[in-house]
Symmetry: C2
Subunit: 206 residues, 2 copies
């Protein structure tokens, strides 16, 4: 089935299923029921079954899904998404933290460069990558065919920097700033707002 | 209207609206149309209007919402959620990074202590808080009435640590580990999986 028909939230859940099925495969588990897989992914079994039909994967009643074949199919859907070079813009407190974070590289995403209005200011010890001035952004993105950017600038400059990213050819932005970015329809944005996540959780504390 | 009737995703959007309205208020803007507010929040105007009716806020046709009154009402819904002490468990790469991140404290959430199986290992320069051993978790949570935890341990130990958090009295967890946590129904979990966010974005790159 063509790539564009899978909705965004489904792709997100496919990433979850893939990680679970990878672990089952490594542990030499042959089959998994939709109930067990759904529970591990935190979704309803009906949701799981619906998601997996997007690429023609149907479980066998009473037997569940074959782990190896499911792993292979999910990998073929998602694998093309990996090994993307990523740039980070805004090497302040959070940006520097994320440059030090090794979880991206582990999953096939390498932060190849960072940009900041003050290239010298990255904090927290020795960095493996250079912090470049903003006027290098456009040529770097073009020379290295970068499509993906992590945005960790303050809310006040986030839209201006986003416009520069879009102009440079960036197609996808992981936005940590506190504003909602206005982008053309061919650019995708995922928002991670850590303070709002905490506010949301604490609202439900009794 | 009673607190429990507002769904989780609505509360998330209320946090977004609140931040926008706060900024408008600071900039001495009197009224905002539902179209403008919805655009700034990245939602549809119908969604915005529906969300705001949860606490009896109706815009005036042609005039929109009064910024000051909307700001006050959103604050009264969300403010109780702030100024919560937070603990962090897992002071590895990402955990240390988040301890250095000043965005939580800015929004009223103070990380009061961190815990790790190796209390000496936090990276990246001088920390303002102590890294305590795991056997101090239960007494600390109880003595300081902590309800909220940030979980940055590896996936392999995330469920075991979660069980300890729940037993200690933690009611809400911001989970950065790569597994879906199984928790009792009185405990809420929000998941932030940074690598999946990147994978999801890059799936949509053409």
């Amino acid at each position: 089935m063509a790539k564009f028909v899978i909705p965004r939230k489904t792709v997100y859940r496919l990433s979850l299923y893939f990680r679970i099925v990878e672990r089952l495969f490594q542990n030499r588990i042959d089959t998994v029921s939709s109930a067990a897989l759904a529970k591990a992914a935190g979704v309803k079994p009906t949701q799981l079954r619906k998601d997996l039909t997007y690429f023609g994967q149907f479980g066998t009643r009473g037997l569940g899904y074959k782990v190896e074949s499911l792993e292979r199919q999910l990998a073929s859907v998602l694998r093309t998404a990996r090994f993307q070079p990523v740039i980070l813009v805004g090497a302040g407190n959070l940006g520097s933290a994320l440059i030090h974070y090794d979880g991206f590289a582990k999953e096939g995403f390498e932060i190849v460069a960072a940009f900041d209005i003050r290239p010298g200011r990255a904090k927290g010890g020795h960095l493996k990558i250079s912090i470049l001035p903003m006027d290098r952004l456009k040529s770097f993105v073009s020379e290295h065919s970068v499509k993906l950017a992590i945005l960790t600038v303050p809310g006040t400059s986030a839209q201006v920097v986003t416009n520069a990213l879009v102009e440079a050819g960036i197609q996808a932005i992981l936005n940590f700033s506190t504003i909602i970015l206005q982008v053309p329809s061919n650019v995708v944005v995922n928002n991670v707002n850590l303070a709002i996540e905490l506010e949301n959780l604490s609202y439900f504390i009794t």
